[in-house]
């Protein structure tokens, strides 16, 4: 910084955020070459960065291990849970409809089919669809 006076005000001014100018601010900046240089540099760095940031996106990163394997993992877990449910409790499909007669040998009635499971599946599918779409958008903009 070429002049240490009005340090914060100069930054706010450079970004058009100086709502109230303190007494003597404008007079000082106009008469101080250090302050004028500071303001000019702040604006220039900001302008240059905005240009650079949009013009110079980096090349795509090298292949890496993705971290979103949890989605297929959850889907696989759900699938296994459903298969196990069908194999272990073959009468469940009946109870889904009737929700009344427990299979022989069970001391308590089977729980009714949980509508939340279906809602969760739908939510998961929707989330995956949105993620795919988002990933596509990011790759498209990045290419």
């Amino acid at each position: 910084m070429e002049c240490t006076q009005f340090r914060d005000e100069k930054l706010l001014d450079a970004y058009d955020e100086l709502d109230v100018e303190p007494d003597g601010y404008r007079e000082h900046v106009e008469s101080c070459s250090g302050c004028r240089n500071d303001l000019e540099d702040f604006r220039e760095i900001s302008d240059q960065y905005r240009l650079a940031s949009t013009e110079c996106l980096p090349r795509l990163a090298p292949a890496r291990k993705r971290r979103d394997h949890w989605i297929p993992a959850i889907a696989a877990a759900l699938l296994i849970a459903v298969l196990v449910g069908v194999l272990v409790w073959p009468s469940r499909s009946v109870s889904v409809v009737s929700q009344a007669v427990p299979p022989t040998g069970l001391s308590s009635p089977l729980p009714a089919w949980d509508a939340d499971d279906e809602a969760f599946d739908r939510e998961l599918s929707e989330l995956r669809r949105r993620l795919d779409r988002l990933e596509f958008e990011i790759r498209r903009r990045n290419s």
Binding site: M1, R7, D8, L11, L12, Y15, E17, D41, F42, I45, S46, Q48, Y49, R50, L51, A52, S53, T54, E55, C56, L57, P58, R59, L60, A61, P62, R64, R66, R67, D68, E126, L127, R129, R130, L131, R133, L134, E135, E137, I138, R141, N142
Partner: protein
């Protein structure tokens, strides 16, 4: 903006597309400079997922951008912390911008971007929240949880560091 938030709350896929269209680039640039190219996509994705999960309880007390970048900022800082403890020694740094052979406008741009990436995290965070996220210094101070003059001080140091880095090109 209210329309976007209402759409997101209602689960409209059109609203989600609009969210990705309007904020995807800015979020990606912010994350890219803060966490680097290998993490940026993940952080952006996770940000959108968090937005979808939390939009139901979102109360618009400030600008939507401020809330959105608060989420991205937290996730980016988590990624930085994670990387600082788990980055393998064998990982070679990647020259993301490609070779720069001559003194040119592009050379200055690349030098500036590299200088931004080398800033200490606290300075870089404030700089990127102002430049890429477009938040005001007051919003940044609220987001970071520090007084306004602390946020401005960090921005000052950032500017000074960038100025020094660019001196060779002037």
């Amino acid at each position: 903006m209210d329309e976007l938030v209402q759409g997101l709350k209602a689960g409209s896929s059109g609203a989600f597309d609009r969210l990705a269209r309007e904020y995807g680039d800015r979020l990606f640039r912010f994350c890219l400079r803060l966490v680097g190219p290998t993490e940026a996509e993940d952080v952006v994705q996770e940000t959108f997922i968090r937005v979808l999960r939390s939009i139901g309880s979102y109360q618009p007390t400030g600008r939507f951008e401020s809330w959105l970048f608060t989420i991205a900022n937290h996730l980016a800082l988590d990624a930085i912390r994670r990387n600082s403890t788990s980055r393998p020694d064998s990982e070679e740094p990647v020259d993301e911008y490609g070779p720069v052979d001559e003194m040119s406008h592009r050379e200055v741009q690349v030098a500036l971007l590299r200088a931004v990436e080398r800033l200490p995290v606290e300075q870089k965070q404030v700089f990127l929240l102002r430049e890429d996220a477009g938040l005001s210094f007051r919003e940044i101070a609220d987001l970071v949880g520090c007084p306004l003059n602390t946020a401005l001080g960090r921005m000052h140091y950032a500017m000074e560091n960038l100025r020094k880095s660019l001196r060779a090109y002037r």
